[in-house]
């Protein structure tokens, strides 16, 4: 495949990952289930020595994601948290981070319970307010870590504005792009220095693999990350690399469908008397709508909503049939989550309540089922009537 990659659309690039890379012509790049590589002669290497340092299957994935995000280099890890933790290892005792306040509970936990012990400090702010980010920056601040949109409240940060502010002071801007993927949002083009993914989610898309990815904009940062990846060794195995590649091939068709369904569901939820509030940046009334529209090609497939009280929330979770009550997100099947008790259980309860991650909030990861069937299921779950047997 020799067409100029820079002119190609993201959907085409994603489909073509690994095609033409193998000597046998195999359309699907092989799984190099291999730990070590024999050397042609003393002092010579094929480019591969040991799979922690480099594996051909992993390399196809790493180069593929780097290409999709327009970065210099990509890295694959054994989970999204392994990817984030590896990035955080860039920093040292005394360094300070500015972090999105309503971020994924696992990221909060690793910063709060692991890295703070190592001497890092972090300030949590509402990153949808650039001034709040500006006010939080200190002399020892080394990075701003953003989720766009945030999890679970789907607030939108201005990546360009924040990264401009950070660049002037030698601070890295890191974006967790798990919710939108490079198909919809390319943070490096907006000035970010690194992008991180839980590839378990939309990137892989089938709820069947755990994986994390990092893409960096320039080679210099790439060298530092490579050192950490190889030293710490939280690499993704070849079987799972291959599954993520396979998932990436359908990225555009899955997300196109998920977007359509998410919009329909969000608009429908707004009209339900039992729903008090809907969080979805695709709604024109959403505070992040215009900003996300300017930065991204779509609004994603995550929809959060608030019901009247905890009893109703628990009712919905008990009554959904087609939709599975499970953690995680981004797969082809629609999932519903109770953030306060699942993904964000590690946050301080009063902090949670202040931000709006309360016991009335439910989060939907919209799949690719028929929209009518999803609405039917949500309709019966929200109806308030007794459960049918």
């Amino acid at each position: 495949m020799e067409q100029g990659v820079e002119t190609m659309k993201t959907s085409t690039m994603a489909v073509q990952i690994g095609v033409g890379r193998d000597a046998t012509g195999a359309m699907s790049f092989p799984i190099y289930q291999n730990a070590t590589f024999s050397h042609p002669a003393f002092g010579e290497s094929t480019g591969y020595d040991y799979s922690r340092s480099g594996n051909p299957t992993r390399r196809v994935l790493e180069e593929g994601i780097a290409q999709l995000d327009g970065g210099a280099r990509g890295f694959a890890y054994s989970s999204g948290m392994a990817a984030i933790a590896n990035l955080l290892l860039l920093f040292k005792q005394g360094d300070h981070l500015v972090v999105t306040e309503d971020l994924y509970g696992g990221t909060f936990r690793v910063i709060d319970k692991v890295f703070v012990k190592q001497g890092l400090t972090a300030t949590y702010v509402d990153t949808s307010v650039p001034e709040a980010v500006g006010r939080a920056l200190r002399d020892n601040t080394r990075a701003v870590l953003l989720e766009v949109p945030t999890n679970p409240l789907l607030k939108v940060a201005d990546i360009r504005k924040i990264s401009d502010m950070a660049k002037g002071r030698g601070i890295l801007t890191i974006v967790d792009n798990t919710f939108l993927t490079p198909y919809l949002l390319r943070p490096l083009e907006l000035g970010a220095d690194a992008v991180v993914y839980s590839a378990t989610k939309f990137i892989s898309g089938h709820n069947d693999v755990l994986a994390g990815l990092v893409v960096v904009k320039d080679e210099e940062l790439g060298k530092q990350i490579y050192f950490l990846q190889n030293s710490v060794g939280a690499v993704l195995g070849p079987q799972d690399c291959w599954l993520v590649i396979r998932g990436l091939k359908t990225l555009s068709v899955r997300i196109d469908r998920q977007l359509e369904n998410a919009r329909t569901i969000a608009e429908w939820l707004v009209r339900q008397a039992s729903v008090k509030k809907v969080y979805y940046p695709g709604l024109e009334t959403d505070p992040g709508h215009c900003l996300l529209k300017a930065q991204a090609r779509g609004f994603g497939a995550m929809v959060a909503f608030e019901v009247a009280d905890r009893r109703v929330a628990e009712d919905v979770l008990r009554k959904v049939r087609l939709i599975s009550f499970a953690e995680s997100l981004g797969g082809v099947e629609t999932l519903i989550t109770y953030p306060a008790f699942q993904t964000h259980a590690d946050m301080d309860p009063s902090e949670r309540e202040r931000m709006g991650i309360n016991d009335r909030l439910l989060r939907l990861s919209v799949g690719i089922e028929d929209e009518g069937d999803l609405l039917d299921d949500l309709g019966q779950a929200l109806s308030g009537g007794e459960e049918e047997s």
Partner: protein
Amino acid sequence: MKIGTKILHTGNEIDPTTGAVSIPIYNSATFRQTSVEECGPYEYSRSANPTRDALEAIIASLEGGAKGFAFSSGMAAISSVFLLFSPGDHIVACEDVYGGAYRVLTKLFSRLGIEATFVDFTDVARIREAVRPNTRALYLETPSNPLLKITDLRAVSALAKEKGILSIIDNTFMTPYLQRPLEYGMDIVIHSATKYLGGHSDLIAGLAVAADVKLASQIKFIQNAFGAVLGPQDCWLLMRGIKTLKARMDMHQKGAARLAEWLQGRPEVKEVFFPGLSGHPGKKIHESQADGPGGIVSFRLQTEELTKQFLGRVRLPALAVSLGGVESIISYPVTMSHAGMHPDHRKRVGVTGDLVRLSVGIEDPDDLIEDLNSALSKV
């Protein structure tokens, strides 16, 4: 439930013991038994395997049949179904059938005393003429491979019922998302699941679905006795592929429609075969039995020489056999998919040196058009 949802939720996709939303891969050959008197639900994976069971239930549900069967390749599925027949039996098959099916009928089953006659299935009168007292089955593809001719499924199944014989269809090009032949009275549906059902050009698999329990028990006997079963890893991959069938197929069709229209407007192109084109002779029948034209477009260039040059210059679609993957594949039926067909037969049905078959992937159609445009412009 709509077919687009059913693809994801037939009820067989969740592990009953742990709730895992992805069925476990049971890489187990044999199963420990609790007593000598009675065996548990599984004994030995050739007979049944939990991962394969889930896949077989899914395809049966999607096609609306009594039972599904998973085989190690599309040809293993076709061959296992043909093993229903005995020496002296006769099959009437459509003339522009997949080269591999033609080969197994003319070179292998013929040796076992099972005869086949190939006729144009677009004309039911021709099929009727070919039926003999010892005919046991009608075997067809619609749309056919590679010329995308359309057979009237209702008419064929009515003829089969009238004669008391089986009607068997290879539904590979359509998948149950677009066409469910059992609803029109066909008896057996076969798939090369390597193609659209798997969808990623990364596994080899075949499926068969029987309309009724009696026929299913005969196929079950052959599957277990002959043993051309699909391994659990590949069963699992195939289930993973099926989850995105609708999303992929919608894009395949959109791209194919764009390319077919575009090809029609090119002076280098002599003829375009695609059931979605307004001039396609089978369009009306196709639309009455299928929900879309599919993702395969075949076309003829002005000369054989031009065709070969063109194939040498295409960059984005891979020059390869097979079809139905997310990546576009371009192939030359004469030396590839239909190499197994006798040259005279190929000539008679129109599989000639100027013919190209394009399996349109889910890349952005603009990129595909740009690539074909640059390849055509240079010839």
